[in-house]
């Protein structure tokens, strides 16, 4: 029947008038049938209370007349009342609790107990477009996480708290303050497009843009401004449902093609509830995620400077440290200040050397030579102890006429580098009002305000001090002295001046100057909200109309002070994002016969999106110090860059579900989208899905060991539109040359005949639980083929273009997801739950455009690139490789590693073999403890930090004794030097000794890029939460409170295992498709939070 309706519906849409006329009678017939099913029974008020296992009232439980959408929810004490026919059955559901169906049988008071079981198969799951379904009836993979799971750690970015808690989800986070999180479900499907999951709040898409610059994401500097889903208030989350596959998300249209993270916010309940959280966090860096320094040699690149040893400058302190000459004859040892490496002179406390602080008149060491020793305070001491404050208050309430919720959360995070802070103010309000019995109005408005100041510099840039400290540093420089030099003078007194006679910085500023003068700031104000009208035509049929907005504006201001190593500068970037959605949804849900339930959905959606931005910058420096305004530009300001992106997508969709005996469920959906970004004539596309679930355990009801068993299978197609403005060609206007205008042909050729791209996916799944749900699993196998991808395909630049938009390229993702859960111990006072998630995804680039075998995604410093390579997993790292002879690295006649002829070999695959998480929770009376072990196995990353840092001699590996027992840094003539392990071209063991007196032997100049590709596996104790809920006996003494919970929370407590030295293998530059490259990685913070939660 649903099929017929769908058919009719679409025939109407397609203007097949004949068909409509022919079927008009049919429609009427169905209409009559529906009306015929209406029940006319005597109704009366049913009251009752819903409690948990301990007898405590359960608030917020949904109470619905079975087979209808008529219902209510319980108040703070668990009580409810509603009008119900004496013959009705009431269905009690709440996220995270098992579903209970209770026939009224003429009673007027009911007492219901709901059992808490985080993996109950009867639990309610919110599915696409906010439709609530029992998990039992789902025929696709959907995993739910309670809001408490992501909010209990009191961190300000809930996305990171999903890591390890859901199978099929790969989350990569950055260590940058307020930095971005990469959230990818079931592997990258789009070669150059967006692969991030779609966030949906209460049925409304929530933008998760990451507008980090192209330079930032390729590690060339800039700030990580994070992604916009960080605006979501963790305290407002009631539950998160992850719709992993296309079948689950098909109703969202093209946007849902990467999977959907559905967030259901908290709703007001009857009565009044107040919850207050207050937390304070203190942390420190994990030492094994940052550099360790050798303590034997100081600043320099080798013995080629001015004094006799060659390791030092030789200058006359009496004549302004000018080079020794007849007029300045008194040569003294001076550190080669311009050199940002530690291949200099061997430390010797008896050797007196003029160092950087000897040139600063305000320094106690001014004009003094000081002992040549390693710094007492190395750069690890630069990092401050981060602190955070997290406070929130939530008030909710309601009556028969409606409900409301009001929440406010404020977090203040201070980072691990000085002068860094991100503050968030998040406000949430929603309300519903029953205008009549049938008509309900609802509205929600959420405001978020994110203010960042002094976010960490990223990438290979002078404002990323991690790059400075990990790659280019003098081990003799004391960070504490730099700190006092800056605070003493307020000037850029750097350790790295161009020369003792020219104290301008050459490569690096004083790090404190960088932090306090070259800082950025940013603000984002966002309004997200909606208004709905829900009209219940009958018990089983309702219409929902909704208008929603997601609007934010942001400003980013970046500064480079006068006196910095790079040209002083001020730039500002303003961006506004605006999305409006108009939705119309018609839902029906009816038991059409005994054992046969039909649900249906018809809908339409109009989405309008506008993204405007403008960025402007001073030109060639500032005039007046410390005034950061465009008008303070040394040269006329170049025309700002403007962008105005507009898009509209119009969609209509329909879905139907037929359930037989709660045993067999068939879901069918179809959606048609028309997108403005596609060329006229080809701008609409359809995608269907069909899913079937079969609860086979119903056949074995006598088998007590088997609690539940379901097998499910589905198939779906999802289409996607083109990026903005990729069909029509435009020119780039270039700043004029004097008064001559300039223009250029864009480097990407657009294409007026693009077609929508497609993903076809199939999924099969098996869910089973045993021994009354004490143990169970849920597993899925999927295969998704994304083809006809709209790509800016790389073409030979001999065409005059870098790329051309085409439909080309296929990626296949295959994977297995397993969630295992068990309750090893369960007694009255003590319980232990284990929940394991395991994900394995394999992807393969199956086709690219015509004859090409590679598509360059981006090239990076170090001669490496990230690519889509034919026949390889997505995102291959390419670069220069070793040359192998009989499986061993080959050494050339000069004693150095031979490098492959091209810098073009595949040297790494950033995709993990598998990822997983093990959650344990133990509860004893009022004390609960949970902890999460997060695992990532395999996957590669290239470390530019070690590529350079090993070359510049910062790390202990670059010093020490050689096989002769001599200092390897000695000249070969003094028994120094090293012998690279490997074989010569004829296969014999290498015996050629090479010098290690100059920089480079272990680093980038002498070892190919492949030498800096590391295994990115890790095992982490990600979080642990210890909570003590004050027992009832104490609570009685404070009657104002309903509950008081005290929690001690630890984050990133221990990296149990990793293979990457000196850094956290999880640290990334940004979110997006370019993963597997580290530059200037920040250390990971171990943080402890003490939180008090009060409920009134």
């Amino acid at each position: 029947m649903v099929f017929l309706l769908l058919q009719i519906f679409f025939s109407i849409f397609l203007n097949k008038k004949k068909y409509i006329m022919k079927n008009f009678k049919l429609i009427m017939m169905f209409g009559l049938m529906f009306f015929g099913f209406q029940l006319f029974a005597q109704t009366s008020t049913v009251k009752g209370k819903v409690t948990d296992e301990t007898g405590a009232g359960l608030p917020g439980v949904s109470v619905v007349l079975k087979g209808t959408s008529v219902g209510t929810s319980t108040g703070p004490d668990g009580s409810f009342s509603l009008m119900a026919p004496a013959t009705a059955t009431l269905v009690f559901t709440s996220v995270g609790l098992s579903r209970v169906e209770e026939p009224v049988r003429g009673r007027t008071t009911l007492s219901i107990q709901l059992v808490k079981s985080s993996n109950s198969l009867d639990e309610v799951v919110v599915t696409a477009l906010g439709i609530r379904r029992s998990k039992n009836s789902l025929s696709y993979a959907a995993q739910t996480v309670a809001g408490d799971e992501v909010s209990k750690t009191r961190t300000n970015n809930f996305m990171n708290n999903l890591s390890g808690k859901v199978s099929g989800v790969e989350i990569r986070q950055t260590n940058s303050l307020g930095g971005s999180s990469n959230v990818v479900l079931r592997g990258a499907k789009s070669i150059t497009g967006n692969n991030q999951a779609l966030f949906v709040i209460d049925g409304v898409p929530f933008d998760n843009s990451n507008n980090n610059s192209g330079n930032q994401v390729t590690g060339r500097g800039g700030y990580d401004y994070g992604n916009a889903a960080a605006d979501i208030n963790p305290d407002d989350i009631d539950a998160i449902t992850v719709l992993k596959g296309a079948a689950a998300s098909a109703l969202y249209g093209s946007r849902g093609s990467n999977g959907v993270i559905l967030i259901t916010t908290k709703k007001g309940r009857k009565g009044l509830g107040v919850t207050i959280n207050s937390g304070i966090t203190a942390g420190s860096i994990l030492k094994n995620t940052f550099a360790s320094y050798q303590k034997e040699y100081g600043g320099g690149y080798g013995p080629y400077y001015e004094d006799g040893t060659g390791y030092f400058l030789f200058r006359d302190p009496n004549s302004g440290f000018s080079p020794v000459s007849s007029s300045s004859p008194n040569g003294r040892l001076v550190v080669p200040t311009s050199e940002d490496a530690s291949y200099g002179g061997k430390f010797d406390p008896n050797l007196l050397v003029y160092q950087w602080n000897a040139f600063d008149p305000s320094s106690p060491n001014f004009g003094k030579a000081t002992p040549w020793v390693g710094a007492a305070n190395d750069p690890t001491t630069f990092f401050t102890k981060p602190t955070s404050y997290n406070n929130s208050v939530f008030i909710d309430g309601g009556s028969d006429k409606g409900t409301f919720k009001l929440g406010y959360t404020r977090t203040d995070d201070n980072g691990i580098v000085p002068n860094s802070k991100v503050t968030k103010n998040l406000m949430n309000f929603s309300s519903t009002y029953n205008i009549t019995d049938k008509l309900t109005a609802g509205a929600s408005i959420n405001y978020s305000n994110i203010v960042g100041k002094g976010r960490y510099g990223t990438g290979y840039d002078d404002k990323n001090l991690a790059t400075n400290f990990r790659q280019w540093w003098q081990t003799n420089v004391d960070v504490a002295e730099l700190k006092s030099a800056y605070f003493r003078t307020g000037r850029n007194v750097t350790w790295n001046p161009a020369d003792p006679t020219d104290l301008t910085p050459i490569y690096w500023d004083n790090p404190y100057f960088t932090r306090y003068e070259n800082f950025q700031n940013d603000t984002r104000n966002r309004y997200f909200g909606y208004a709905t009208l829900n009209y219940k035509i009958t018990d089983w049929l309702n219409v929902l109309g909704r208008v929603s907005i997601d609007q934010y504006s942001e400003i980013q201001e970046e500064r480079q002070a006068m006196g910095s190593v790079t040209v002083s500068n001020y730039s500002r970037f303003n961006r506004t994002y605006n999305e409006t959605n108009f939705d119309l949804l018609i839902n029906f849900d009816k038991d059409v016969a005994k054992n046969l339930n039909v649900k249906g959905l018809l809908g339409a959606n109009i989405r309008k999106q506008t993204i405007e931005s403008i960025s402007a910058s001073t030109n060639g420096g500032l005039i007046v110090p410390k005034i950061y305004a465009l008008s303070n530009s040394a040269n006329p300001v170049n025309a700002p860059l403007e962008s105005d992106l507009r898009k509209e997508v119009d969609g209509v969709f329909a879905g139907g579900t037929i359930s037989y005996k709660d045993m067999l469920t068939l879901d069918v959906t179809v959606r048609r989208d028309a997108s403005s970004t596609l060329p006229k004539g080809n701008n609409s596309y359809y995608y269907p899905s069909v899913s079937l679930g079969y609860v086979f355990s119903k056949l074995f009801e006598k088998a007590t060991w088997l609690t539940y068993g379901k097998i499910r299978a589905n198939y779906a197609e999802v289409g996607a539109d083109a990026p903005f403005y990729s069909t029509l060609d435009v020119y780039n206007i270039v700043n004029p040359f004097g008064s001559s205008p300039q223009a250029s042909v864009a480097s990407t050729k657009n294409n007026p005949s693009l077609l929508p791209e497609k993903t076809k996916s199939t999924e099969i799944g098996l869910e089973m639980s045993f021994l009354r749900s004490r143990i169970g699993f849920d597993m899925s196998y999927y295969n998704a083929e994304s083809f006809n991808q709209i790509l800016p395909t790389t073409v030979s630049t001999a065409t005059g273009y870098s790329s051309k938009f085409l439909n080309a390229g296929t990626i296949i993702n295959k994977g297995l997801e397993v969630s295992l859960y068990g309750t090893p111990i369960k007694t009255k006072d003590f319980s232990w739950n284990v929940n394991i998630n395991w994900t394995r995804n394999r992807n393969n680039v199956k086709a690219l455009f015509e004859g090409s075998s590679n598509l360059l995604l981006a090239s990076f410093q170090g001669g490496v690139s990230i690519n889509a390579t034919l026949g390889q997993p997505f995102g291959t790292l390419r670069g220069a490789n070793f040359v192998y002879t009989n499986g061993q690295k080959t050494i050339g006649s000069n004693g150095r590693y031979l490098q492959s002829a091209t810098s073009n070999e595949v040297i790494g695959n950033p995709n993990p073999d598998w990822i997983g998480g093990i959650n344990n929770s133990i509860k004893y009376k009022n004390v609960s403890l949970s902890w999460l072990v997060d695992v990532r196995q395999g996957g590669d990353l290239f470390s530019l930090d070690l590529y350079y840092g090993l070359a510049t001699g910062l790390y202990p590996e670059t010093t020490g004794l050689n096989e002769l027992g001599n200092q390897s840094r000695n000249e070969i003539s003094d028994g120094g030097g090293i012998i690279n392990p490997g074989v010569t071209a004829d296969g014999k063991q290498n015996t050629t000794r090479v010098t290690n007196a100059q920089f480079g032997s272990y680093g980038y100049r002498r070892v190919p890029a492949a030498g800096f590709v590391y295994d990115a596996s890790y095992v982490k104790l990600r979080e642990a939460v210890l909570t003590y809920s004050l027992p009832g006996s104490i609570m009685k003494m404070v009657p104002a409170f309903k509950g008081i919970d005290l929690s001690l929370i630890g984050r990133n407590l221990w990296i149990i295992h990793k293979n990457l030295p000196y850094a956290d293998p999880e640290e990334a530059i940004s979110s997006g498709n370019l993963q597997g490259y580290q530059v200037g990685a920040y250390p990971t913070t171990r943080a402890f939070t003490f939180n008090v939660k009060l409920r009134f």
Partner: protein, 481 residues
């Protein structure tokens, strides 16, 4: 009943509200679909000048290759490491995509957007402009083909051939000379680009001299490999009339404010970096001869008393050595794209090769040196004094004409590393010894853009085979010795 039907139709009514043409939303409101042809021309000319002039280690390392300069600390490029920074990719992309493509687009637009006062095509102006753009393209191709060898040419600059085939370098070269002939013939009158042309303000007469000088230069480049064609080109150029003095020099006059300054200023002054010092290779030779151009080329050393060059390819202490002069590093120092001095050197050489050239080789040689000294700021007297030295004077200087001309050309082409790299490979003078630490022998060509290996694989492989291997040691067709 009715209700239900209305209800089911609601989504459609809903959508009816947005039946307007969606596609119109997909027109970029901030970027134009039409621009004037001269705006593309100016941009291409500036980008070309930047590419030839830049000292960025990611793009133009020719000063390091021919050992005018060397690096202080990060010595990779001085040691001929082309791969780490993917320099062939930089050169290739810049000339093909950023220069040739915009010139080509200017050619596409000129026939429709260069109009007279009445809105009709200005045929005379169009003809000159088309010729000038083509000359600039030929000039650009000259650097490409002398750098890489076989190249996508007949199928290049055509997006419908995303993976173009490579043409034989000699065939490309012959066609370039052919195009140049046609361009010279086409030029006449006075109407052309005007101020959009930074080199000659659109003066067709100057352009004619420039084109003839390029013809002379291109002719001489193939003197060893195709003497007949070389002779024809050179004599045709002389007949047309080549640059006749420093005031004919093709100067790209940079502005003093970013982003339109000389790129060397950006790399050396604005950046605050101290990456480059002079090499002993050039300094020692010039010092021996007391070359009056030394103060225009370099600063004094750290001690402030002498000109000292660092060792090419070795680690060099910045303070110790002479650096590029303030003249070169000035923001508005013009780039020289074709100079009178080099023209006279070419004439001198043509004479030695027996082509029909007026004057003597020695006269041209002396005039070339004098022109260079004067261009750099020296006086005629200084030039005369310099020329009197036995090691400079044409009659007495060491070696054959190749050595004499090669040596002096090396000095006069200072700061134009790319051109000197071509001349040095052709004349094999002066002899440049690769640093002992170099990763390869002295490069006589660039390897292809690495992207071509990946995406234009079949054509790349065919081209590599055709030229004798994609190596820096594979000699190009004109580099016979």
């Amino acid at each position: 009943m009715k209700k239900i039907i209305i209800l089911l139709l609601l989504p459609l009514l809903f959508m009816a509200g947005c039946t307007k043409d969606l596609t119109s939303l997909n027109e970029d409101p901030k970027n134009p679909s039409v621009v004037p042809s001269y705006a593309l021309f100016t941009n291409a000319q500036r980008t070309l000048s930047n590419t030839l002039t830049s000292s960025s280690v990611n793009l133009n390392i020719f000063r390091l290759i021919v050992q005018y300069w060397t690096e202080t600390t990060y010595t990779d490029e001085s040691n001929y490491d082309l791969q780490t920074r993917q320099i062939p990719r930089g050169v290739w992309n810049s000339l093909y995509r950023d220069v040739l493509r915009d010139f080509q687009e200017a050619k596409n637009l000129i026939p429709t957007d260069v109009l007279d006062g009445t809105g009709k095509p200005d045929v005379a102006k169009q003809k000159n402009e088309m010729a000038i753009v083509d000359i600039m393209q030929v000039y650009t191709w000259y650097y490409l083909v002398t750098t890489f060898g076989n190249l996508p040419y007949s199928e290049a600059l055509n997006i419908d051939k995303p993976f173009p085939k490579y043409d034989d370098q000699k065939a490309i070269y012959t066609d370039l000379l052919f195009r140049l002939n046609a361009d010279i013939a086409a030029l006449g009158g006075t109407a052309s680009f005007g101020s959009a042309d930074v080199l000659y303000k659109g003066d067709p007469a100057k352009w004619k001299k420039f084109a003839a000088s390029l013809q002379l230069k291109m002719g001489m480049t193939i003197a060893d490999s195709d003497p007949a064609l070389a002779k024809t080109a050179v004599e045709a150029a002389i007949a047309t009339g080549v640059l006749a003095g420093n005031n004919d020099n093709a100067l790209f006059s940079y502005l003093s404010g970013p982003p339109n300054t000389n790129p060397i200023w950006v790399d050396l002054v604005q950046s605050g970096r101290k990456d480059f010092v002079a090499t002993s290779t050039i300094i020692n030779k010039m010092k021996t001869l007391g070359d009056p151009r030394l103060p225009f080329y370099f600063t004094l050393d750290g001690g402030g008393t002498d000109y000292i060059g660092g060792i090419a390819g070795a680690s060099n202490n910045y303070t110790t050595y002479s650096k590029p002069s303030a003249k070169i590093t000035a923001a508005d120092f013009p780039a020289l794209l074709m100079g009178y001095s080099e023209v006279r050197f070419l004439l001198s050489e043509a004479k030695e090769r027996g082509y029909n050239v007026p004057g003597t080789a020695a006269e041209h040689y002396s005039a070339a040196i004098t022109a260079s000294i004067q261009y750099w700021g020296g006086t005629a007297t200084q030039a005369a004094t310099y020329l009197l030295q036995p090691e400079v004077a044409y009659s007495t200087a060491t070696g054959d004409w190749k050595q004499k001309i090669g040596t002096q050309k090396y000095f006069s082409l200072y700061n134009r590393g790319w051109d000197e790299w071509i001349e040095q490979r052709r004349l094999d003078q002066p002899v440049i010894v690769a640093p002992s630490t170099a990763v390869s022998e002295y490069p006589v060509r660039f390897t292809y853009n690495v992207d071509e290996q990946n995406i234009n694989t079949a054509n790349y492989n065919a081209a590599s085979t055709a030229i004798g291997g994609d190596e820096v040691t594979t000699k190009l067709f004109w580099d016979k010795f």
